[in-house]
Amino acid sequence: MPTSKSHTDKKNIPGGQNRLVLGSVGVINPESIDEYIAAKGYDALKKALSAMKPAQVIAEVKTSELRGRGGAGFPTAIKWAGAANEKGDVKYVICNADEGEPGTFKDRAIMEGDPHKLIEGMALAGYATGASKGYIYVRGEYTLSIARLAKAAADARAKGFLGANIQGSGFNFDLEVLRGAGAYICGEESALIESIEGKRGEPRLKPPYPVQKGLWQKPTVVNNVETLANIPAIVLNGGEWYRAIGVEGSRGTKVFCLMGDLNWKGVVEIPFGAPLSKIIKEMGGGVKKDRKLKGVILGGVSGSLLTAKELDTPVDFKSLALIESGPGSGAIIALDETRSIVDVVDNIAHFFMHESCGRCTPCRAGNEQIVRLIGKIRKGEGSHADLKKLEELGWNMYQTSFCPLGQTAPNILLQSLRKYRGEWEACLAGKKEKCAC
């Protein structure tokens, strides 16, 4: 069946959420700027332009302790201040909407369901950092997101929220919606910049960071969709208000994507700090068919693999770091007791082999070797030496790959070799039913 027009019209949305970012998603007509304005839309931009200096906007974001929602969790205010402090009159704001982490569809929900919120966040980022031009780089496959953003930008321009002399303030800012063309690597900010410049999406050496030399070598802020969608509420209600939500080190809410062996799948938004077990039970409706949970992949396939015993850990940057995990992109993929960990890791390995950009050897060759070794093990031809090889390869890639793609590709492989050793060894022992091969 063709999927419902958008993720926004999903039914039976779980209660108990705090929908700061998703508040209007599924509520207002995303193609109507009037409905966005009626829901306090563009009030934050008007407030900033009429009553705040750019430095004050950055100060509010700093007070809010907002951290990037793309996966890395970098403090947004530090990035913005970095760009604002760079000399030069040409600066850029880029929205990284190249959502491609397997298991992640939160940005799609925001762009399809409330595109103006992102555009308002972009304009505020431009005002704060002194940029007058923005780009929203959306992955090419997100056709509905692209269409809705393009319409929203045109409507915002017509109403004077984009363009020259916005709301009579003297501030100029306009943006373009750009399409990607199918490359996971372009979610890495410097590869994304290369792509906008019309090149292959191969990452750049850092430093210089994009805030110093980004697009066309000019100071550039690159923020994730969800990060920017948080900005209007922070500017409108103040950083202190935002800081009161969530837990220490992880303020505000996070949008999570629930999928896998759960009774309810979709996007939810809750404050940081809830244990994963609670999210799975109360938002995801528990495990399908009343089965037991074997584990959870958190933050996408470059994220981490948590065992059922680790699920009482609060989902925030600090608590998860203690168990070598993190919220990542917000993807929560539940695996029930019937799932084969070797099969899951094999699927992930194929993904990375396909998406490695080929620039550096550890990632290009490493991912191929991982696929080859897992294949050998699954055929029943593996040995303990192969498991050791996998560990060495993974560790090498983590240490020597050029960019986060290659560095994080072996995350789940390595964790599975430690946490689910028994399943790998059963595979070596020829218990083929265990790995469904």
Binding site: M1, P2, L144, R179, W216, L258, I333
Partner: protein
């Protein structure tokens, strides 16, 4: 600062070519000239991104997701069904020239897995039975 729109231009070229869903060599050279970049760069871009093709493809492009969320929901059986119905392997084009079957990375349709796209349209909660009907509908141009 020169505005370089290689990727957008390639998208448009590929879309506007009448009943063609790939980039001919001569068209890539046009893009290079218009953007003021070497033809080699344009070719490099066209072969880097999965949405571009430098080889002829069918009228409709099927992008089937095989990443984890879809895999867990049985994407393999959907791939087999598509291969069977179309009589092609992954990357192949059906004999009638209607469909090219391509594997895609995660399409962000995980809540409706297994999922695929045909051209710009998304399809979710697929079963081996439903894909046949979908292909028929697309073939009829409905």
């Amino acid at each position: 600062m020169k505005k370089n729109t290689v990727i957008e231009d390639l998208h448009r070229t590929q879309e506007t070519e009448k009943s063609k869903t790939y980039l001919e060599s001569v068209k890539m050279q046009d893009v290079a000239r218009e953007c003021g970049v070497p033809a080699a760069q344009v070719y490099g871009v066209a072969t880097f991104y999965t949405m571009f093709s430098t080889k002829p493809r069918g009228k409709h492009i099927i992008r089937i997701c095989c990443n984890l969320a879809c895999h867990l929901e049985g994407a393999d059986s959907i791939v087999d069904a598509l291969k069977g119905k179309l009589g092609v392997e992954m990357g192949g084009t059906s004999k009638d020239g209607e469909f090219t079957l391509e594997q895609s990375s995660c399409l962000g349709l995980c809540a409706e897995a297994p999922a695929m796209m045909i051209d710009g349209q998304t399809y979710g909660s697929l079963t081996p039975e439903s894909v046949g009907k979908i292909l028929d509908t697309v073939r009829k141009g409905a």
